[in-house]
């Protein structure tokens, strides 16, 4: 029954209601409290099953980042294209697998690097998604790579800025809006990075409105 999800080659766990008819894919970042992110995804979309993959790579990057992460960010802060490609492909396959498994497009809920992958997929396979929640993340810029052309067809996307510069948030909003996504940039609660409890209610309200729209 989980065969469709296995194709992605990712290690994952399942949570949420067993009789769900749709899923959310919960994409953690490098130092994410994954239990809290999973709970937040559950609060956002309580009727959905939750698919919670481990980030793809084991890396030693610095004292605070020994462990799993999705892709390599260079010591100069650039997104490394090959590892980003591996991660994007794996998460795309998991998303398509969740669509096949529950016969409904999944909601993506991502934090940090997980949020970046979710936003990138919003601009690549929007027709296979129900919506995107991106916490403490902006649309990634990958040196030497251009996303393929795409029509997002009204896909609901909410961006909750963390410590990002206003310019990066605005670029994210503008680029996604330009391909037809319905983008909401939530006012900064100062909680997106830490996944604070104040996020539950606004996200649930956003999804209650956007998810049915």
């Amino acid at each position: 029954m989980e065969a469709a999800l296995d194709r992605a080659g990712l290690i994952y766990g399942l949570a949420g209601p067993a009789d769900a008819t749709a899923a959310a894919v919960v994409l953690q970042g490098t130092a994410t409290d994954v239990e809290r992110l999973t709970a937040l995804a559950g609060a956002t979309a309580p009727a959905r099953a939750l698919v919670v993959p481990d980030p793809l790579r084991f890396l030693y990057l610095s004292r605070s980042h020994v462990g799993r992460r999705w892709f390599v960010r260079s010591i100069d802060g650039e997104t490394e294209p090959a590892t980003f490609g591996d991660a994007l492909y794996a998460v795309e396959q998991l998303t398509l697998g969740a669509h096949e498994r529950w016969s409904e497009p999944p909601l993506l809920v991502g934090h940090g690097q997980g949020g970046e992958l979710a936003l990138a997929l919003a601009a690549i396979v929007p027709e296979r998604l129900a919506g995107v929640v991106a916490l403490d993340a902006t649309l990634p810029v990958v040196p030497g790579w251009e996303r393929p052309a795409c029509d997002a067809g009204g896909l609901p996307v909410i961006v909750l800025p963390g410590a990002h510069e206003t310019a990066a948030i605005e670029r994210t909003r503008a680029e996604l809006a330009a391909i037809g996504a319905r983008v909401t940039v939530a006012p900064s609660h100062g909680q997106a990075e830490a996944l604070g409890p104040a996020l539950d209610e606004p996200l649930a309200s956003w999804w209650a409105a956007a998810g049915s729209g």
């Binding site: 030693y60 610095s62 260079s74 010591i75």
Partner: protein, 594 residues
């Protein structure tokens, strides 16, 4: 029949375009359209430096730091969009014999003669003889090892004094067992050998990088280099070495997003461009055993081999690599391998070949263990251990301490790589189905899913193997392969299970299923063959004379370590030592006319 979970769905993610963005262009392909050797005379240069360093990982930046002293102008040219190379993805440890931390802080002596003998034995075991001149090695190889012993501690201490990075000895983690009463550091991988007089303390890592930290090491090197005025350019795919009429190296030619560039090096060029793991043709032609992938960044396509051989460079150590095992399906599904088996966890666990028999101690360190895949069966004309089957019981699968690491997923997590069966015959049947699905699959790195079939009688043999293993576990002794008989196998082999007062690396399998299996293949951290360099880092011509103005270090040149991985940090120890030395000597070269 169940759906084929190994078959991907239609993707809109163009991995090729992302790989191209990563700079993963094979050297040979780019060279085909370029002139044989770039002649520098009469051409204008796009930029000039005293020393040009090609590459952007640990060896390259150590070379940049070594060169950028006393006002020497250094230009670093990196093929990828970002610096860091494979070093930035690594554990960041470096193996330094007789280092200042072990001497001063722990009072450990590491005398030269036995240390050199230990390195010689492991590097060239087929000719090693402790009584023979040069320990049985050729004089050149022995002198390289001897020089490494002399240089390594000096270089690391100089780096520390200059403020590049400080070093500390790699310490045990809570899940690792202390041995021989030493409870503060890892044992060496070959602590038990009689030549090893300092089996604790040679493996260092940067201070402040808990459990390793290649990112910390790279940050230290690159930050210091830039502070010294080193100029760093990325997206520079160097494809040719430029020479003058005397055949001296005076620059390089690079392909860049803005077109071709010619850079002038007034004194010398140092290469630190990594191995050839990501060039399948070179892997197939040079390595002495079959591998399915590696940890090296996608730009590690052995470009220096293509360029230096045009200048007549002598090649060495081409058959070897720093080997490691991977989950086969991960190697077949990613551009570079995402994780590796260091020393695999699990006490009720065996690794068997397609006949269902064990082939090695499962707890030997990665470089040694991987070579068990390379065994050739002379009667059957096959690699019987090409794919190995990592089999463990459900107690290990559900014990958070036993299943603490790669490749066993944490309890409760679902891993697509884990094949399960209620009984051994059911497990065998499921393994064969998985093998059939992987067969012929072409991976994004060019590797191909192997044609492997479980032999008739695999399930019966595996059951007998487990029965025999159980009796070894009860005795605490593995008479076939000596599992758990060396310090490293105990220290890194996993935690001791409660109630096991014998050999902690073994425990009898549960009498009933389910049982689990993960497919394991051979791979590399990276290869380590290439142009031969002398102890000064100078690249040698086939005549034995240095090619003037050309230096190399790290995994792009013939490793001083031969076929060895001396211990943790065995890649970066020589890479940083010889990189720094090559950079310093390059800066001391005379200026060359164009």
């Amino acid at each position: 029949m169940a759906a084929d979970t190994t078959q991907p769905l239609d993707s809109k993610v163009s991995r090729r375009s992302l790989l191209a963005a990563a700079g993963a262009v094979a050297g040979g392909a780019a060279l085909a359209g370029a002139p044989r050797v770039a002649r520098a005379a009469g051409r204008s240069f796009d930029a000039e430096a005293d020393v040009i360093v090609v590459g952007g990982g640990g060896a390259a930046f150590a070379a940049a730091v070594g060169a950028a002293q006393g006002g020497t102008r250094v230009l670093v040219l990196e093929k990828a969009a970002a610096i860091g190379g494979t070093t930035a993805r690594s554990g960041g440890a470096y193996w330094i014999p007789n280092n200042h931390v072990m001497r001063r802080e722990h009072g450990i002596r590491d005398p030269k003669d036995p240390a050199v003998a230990l390195m010689a034995r492991l590097a060239f075991p087929s000719v090693y003889d402790p009584e023979a001149p040069f320990n049985g090695l050729d004089q050149f190889s022995h002198e390289l090892i001897s020089s490494f012993y002399d240089l390594a501690p000096v270089v690391i201490e100089r780096m520390e004094r200059a403020g590049v990075f400080r070093s500390e000895i790699a310490a045990l983690l809570p899940t690792q067992n202390a041995t021989d009463g030493i409870d503060w550091t890892h044992p060496e991988y070959h602590a038990e050998l009689p030549e090893n007089k300092a089996p604790y303390g040679r493996t260092l890592h940067p201070v402040g990088s808990e459990g390793g930290g290649g990112g910390s090491l790279m940050t230290g090197l690159a930050t210091f280099a830039r502070r010294q005025g080193v100029r760093v350019l990325t997206n520079q795919h160097v494809v040719q070495i430029a020479t003058n009429s005397k055949g001296e190296v005076v620059g390089v030619q690079a392909q860049t997003p803005d077109g071709e560039r010619l850079y002038r090096a007034k004194r010398a060029v140092v290469f630190g461009t990594g191995g050839f793991t990501q060039d399948r043709s070179k892997v197939m032609n040079y390595l002495r055993g079959p591998i399915f992938g590696g940890c090296a960044v996608p730009t590690n396509t052995g470009d220096f081999i293509d360029m230096a051989t045009q200048l007549g460079a002598r090649l060495g150590n081409m058959r070897n690599g720093f080997f490691v095992q991977h989950v086969l399906e991960q190697a077949l599904s990613n551009s570079s391998v995402v994780d590796d088996l260091w020393i695999p966890p699990g006490d009720a666990m065996v690794m068997v070949n397609r006949y269902g028999v064990r082939v090695a101690s499962e707890k030997t360190p990665y470089n040694e263990h991987t070579q068990s895949h390379f065994v050739w069966d002379t009667t059957r004309s096959e690699y019987p251990n090409l794919v190995q089957f990592f089999v463990y019981d459900d107690v290990v699968a559900n014990d958070p301490m036993q299943a603490y690491g790669m490749p066993i997923p944490a309890p409760g997590r679902r891993s697509p790589f884990v094949i399960s069966g209620q009984t051994i015959p059911e497990l065998a049947s499921n393994i064969q189905q998985r093998l059939d699905r992987l067969r012929g699959r072409v991976a994004v790195n060019g590797a191909i899913g192997p044609d492997v079939k479980l032999a008739d009688g695999f399930a019966d043999n595996l059951a007998r193997t487990i029965e025999r293993f159980n009796s070894y576990a009860r005795d605490g002794r593995d008479p076939e392969f000596g599992r758990g008989s060396t310090p490293i196998q105990v220290s890194w082999g996993g935690p001791r299970r409660r109630g096991n007062d014998k050999n902690p690396s073994m425990y009898p399998f549960a009498g009933s299923g389910p049982y689990h299996c993960i497919l394991i293949g051979g791979g590399t951290l990276d290869t380590n063959g290439g142009p031969v360099v002398d102890a000064n880092g100078r690249v040698l011509h086939v005549s034995g004379q240095p090619i003037r103005g050309l230096y190399g270090a790290g995994n792009c040149v013939a490793s001083v370590a031969g076929q060895a991985y001396w211990s943790a940090g065995g890649t970066l120890g020589p890479g940083i030592t010889n990189g720094f030395t090559a950079g310093e000597n390059a800066a001391g070269e005379a200026e060359k006319e164009v």
